[in-house]
């Protein structure tokens, strides 16, 4: 043997006692000779080294099929030669538990899906009907303030509520006319927000919120009346409360899944998506049917509904779901068609006078 003898610490994995062994590197084997007892030869092809070691030169060796035995080599020269000679030092151990891993992955995805898409919605639907009006109002108050703050781009001031008195009077008139025939669980709270977004939404506890942007693009008061009636439909069906309870259940679960890899950013992002998420197709359709009925009863032309949808579609492709279910519902379409076919506005009166309409459009000025 031509190699010079150096020493290493052999840890046999049976006792917490390192044994000094003399080491010599051959062509195919690393030979370990203890002070007493027989020498052993470790085949170079079976040598493994644990990855991500902190020490820059020391070498820790293991054997491929032995989980506990370790050899610590501090001699730089020998460590370097072993690194050069051992072909599979950094080979990874074969994967274990692959089946178990797949089974639990499927189970995890399935249970999260079950929770978010079945259990939580079903429970939210049930519980929403038991929520007392005062509770719903509190939920709405909280959410309304959150949304006002979230909508403000730069600062921390909530988006202002528009309070031009003539505009408010016009809004109150529209509200009174549309809700005369409706059995509301609680009085409505109607606000216009000074924001250019073309949208409207309902919140738990009877909140109906219109954006100034919507008033700007609408060409006649019946279009606004149609949107208003649609949102009242959500209020009557208690859709916003269901939605709020749903997101309370779902957000925690989603946060769980993604962990803290981005300090909760994803959780916040998803929370916002959920808040903005649309109601189910069915809920939207029911709100539309409700709107068209209510408009009819109030003597307002339901054509406003159709025009508003056309306008949404023209503005952006962003409201296809609204349009889709609207078009997909033959009953609703035929009703609008009937209104259109009758051609005469004789049965209907505009929801607001020209002056009131002007006042409403300038409510934020």
């Amino acid at each position: 043997m031509t190699e010079t003898l150096v020493f290493g610490d052999l840890l046999d994995g049976a006792r917490a006692f390192p044994r000094r062994v003399a080491l010599s590197l051959g062509t195919n084997h690393l030979r370990l000779t203890p002070a007493e007892g027989d020498a052993v030869a470790w085949p170079l092809s079976a040598l493994r080294s644990p990855p991500d070691q902190a020490h820059p030169t020391d070498l820790v060796l293991a054997l491929a099929d032995d989980p506990v035995t370790r050899l610590v080599i501090r001699d730089r020269d020998l460590a370097a030669r072993i690194r050069a000679a051992a072909p599979t030092l950094h080979k990874r151990p074969p994967l274990q538990n692959t089946r178990k891993l797949i089974a639990w992955s499927v189970a995890a995805v399935a249970s999260v899906a079950l929770i978010i898409f079945v259990l939580v919605p079903v429970m939210a639907n049930q519980l929403a009907t038991f929520l007392p009006p005062s509770g719903e109002k509190a939920l709405g108050d909280t959410t309304f303030e959150q949304i006002r703050t979230a909508l403000d781009d730069g600062g921390f001031d909530p988006v202002p509520i528009c309070e031009n008195p003539e505009g408010l009077a016009a809004l109150a008139k529209m509200e009174a006319r549309l809700t005369a025939s409706v059995d509301l669980p609680y009085p409505l709270t109607v606000h216009v927000l000074d924001h250019e977004m073309i949208n409207a939404f309902a919140l738990p506890g009877g909140y109906v919120v219109l954006f100034d942007g919507l008033l700007d693009i609408a060409e006649d008061p019946d279009e606004i009346a149609a949107v208003f009636a649609h949102e009242v439909g959500h209020v009557v069906a208690r859709d916003p409360s269901r939605m709020a309870l749903r997101s309370a259940g779902s957000i925690g679960v989603l946060g769980l899944l993604f962990g803290d890899f981005a300090g909760g950013a994803v959780v916040l992002f998803l929370a916002e998506r959920l808040i903005q998420a649309s109601y189910s197709q069915e809920a939207e359709m029911n709100a539309d049917i409700f709107a068209s009925d209510t408009l009819e009863k109030a003597g307002v032309s339901p054509l406003g509904l159709a025009r508003m949808f056309e306008r949404f579609e023209a503005l952006s492709g962003d409201q296809p779901s609204l349009l889709d279910h609207f078009m997909a519902h033959p009953d609703l379409v035929s009703r609008i068609e009937r209104a259109e076919a009758s051609g005469s506005d004789a049965d209907y009166t505009p929801s607001l006078t020209a002056d009131e309409w002007q006042a409403l459009k300038t409510i934020c000025d």
Binding site: A54, H55, V112, A138, L245, A265
Partner: protein, 399 residues
């Protein structure tokens, strides 16, 4: 063999920085799924850097078992968290007309599970740690730990903090007395009252703050100086308590005839935190500043090139800039957020985590190590669930 086995620490900032940067980037690119690999690799590095008696610790946990444990935890916790949160939110709004109660209750409801998860995580980490080829281990007992921890917390809160040493001592004793190195059981000796002196800076700080508030009420202007001093003192007091209680508890631990010794210094730990976070904030702040300069220069260059082309600069150009597609600005914002988050994490690992580990390691020694020869191997604790619960709940599974 000498009568004390010191500990060397061979971790270095350079390699550790690259390792945590590399694994951090991969974690972000994989929407967080690489974190199991990241944690494993960082732990392997850190463990191998700590070398009592010159022999490196070895971390043998695998990423896949962590992933598996996480999935198991998700299956159970998804039901618990989803349904419980929903019901609490409902109850809170029906009974209290507000959501504060729901958040409070949902936190209290999850507390025992957090303690449970912390114990399980410790069991997993010890089961995957070896030194001199011998495994550590922790006996099962997570539920016992969870209710004890909950009661100790209640007692500490009810006694306005006076019983904090009792809580710290008995919870550590519960864990330590169930900890094994090979066949040898660790024992926590001493009494809980021995931790009272470690509270001294906390108590000084509390009196200083209370005195300042009182003086402020009577219009005494010294309160403007003494109140910030009191708050800073509170920070030092917290660190002092942690370091001192760790030192005292370690010095009263025995492993058969082997004794442990720790001599960490609160002043040194304070300095590591201070200097470390100063560096972290400076670097992240400088990064921010550089980014601002680049954006500013970019906008200026655009305006400059436009004027060279003899176009007049008008409001339309500003509009053109602000009309950058929404998805583009969103992606840029998200990338910026992740970059800052990543750098903050990596730098605090390197400039705070690593020096702290070095200090605690270098001030730790094993007394009468000749008795180590009595220690033999313990069987492997399979523990398929790994630290899944702690991982899912974000507690105690940090590296």
């Amino acid at each position: 063999m000498s009568d004390a086995l010191g500990t060397e620490f061979v971790g270095r900032k350079g390699p550790y920085f690259w390792l945590s940067l590399k694994t951090g980037v991969l974690t972000i690119l994989t929407l967080g799924f690489y974190r199991f690999w990241m944690k494993t690799r960082l732990r392997r590095y850190m463990w191998s850097a700590i070398r009592p008696g010159g022999h490196p610790m070895e971390y043998l946990g695998t990423p896949l078992e962590k992933l598996l444990g996480f999935l198991v935890a998700v299956v159970f916790l998804a039901f618990y968290i989803g349904i419980v949160n929903l019901i609490l939110m409902f109850a809170s709004f029906s009974l209290f007309a507000g959501n504060g109660a729901a958040y409070g209750l949902s936190f209290i409801g999850i507390l025992p599970i957090i303690f449970f998860a912390q114990y399980r995580a410790r069991r997993y980490i010890l089961a995957r740690t070896r030194w001199r080829g011998i495994r550590f281990g922790l006996e099962p007992g997570a539920w016992g730990y969870a209710w004890r921890a909950a009661l100790h917390w209640l007692a500490t809160i009810a006694s306005v903090g006076i019983l904090l040493p009792r809580q710290v001592f008995y919870l550590e004793k519960y864990r330590a007395d169930r900890t094994f190195f090979g066949t040898e059981r660790l024992h926590q000796g001493g009494r809980w009252q021995m931790l009272f002196p470690a509270m001294k800076h906390l108590i000084i700080a509390v009196f200083l703050i209370a005195g300042s508030v009182l003086a402020g009420q009577y219009g005494d202007e010294t309160a403007f100086v003494s109140l910030p001093l009191g708050i800073a003192w509170l920070g030092y007091g917290a660190i002092y308590f942690r370091v001192e209680s760790l030192r005292l508890l370690t010095n009263h631990k025995t492993l058969g005839d082997i004794r442990l010794q720790a001599t960490p210094r609160a002043g040194r730990v304070m300095k590591i935190y201070g200097v470390g976070y100063l560096i972290v904030y400076t670097v992240v702040g400088a990064g921010f500043f550089a980014l601002f300069i680049v954006i500013f220069a970019g906008v200026m260059a655009m305006i400059g090139s436009a004027t060279q082309l003899d176009e007049t600069f008008d409001i339309e150009m500003i509009e053109a800039l602000s009309n950058t597609p929404f998805w583009l600005t969103t992606i840029l914002t998200i990338m910026l957020y992740f970059t800052i988050f990543l750098m903050w994490n990596v730098l605090s690992q390197v400039f705070v985590g690593l020096p702290l580990a070095a200090h605690y390691a270098q001030t730790f020694s094993v007394l009468e190590p000749r008795h180590l020869t009595d220690v033999s191997q313990r069987p492997r604790d399979e523990f398929a669930e790994a630290e899944g619960f702690a991982e899912a709940l974000d507690v105690g599974a940090a590296i």
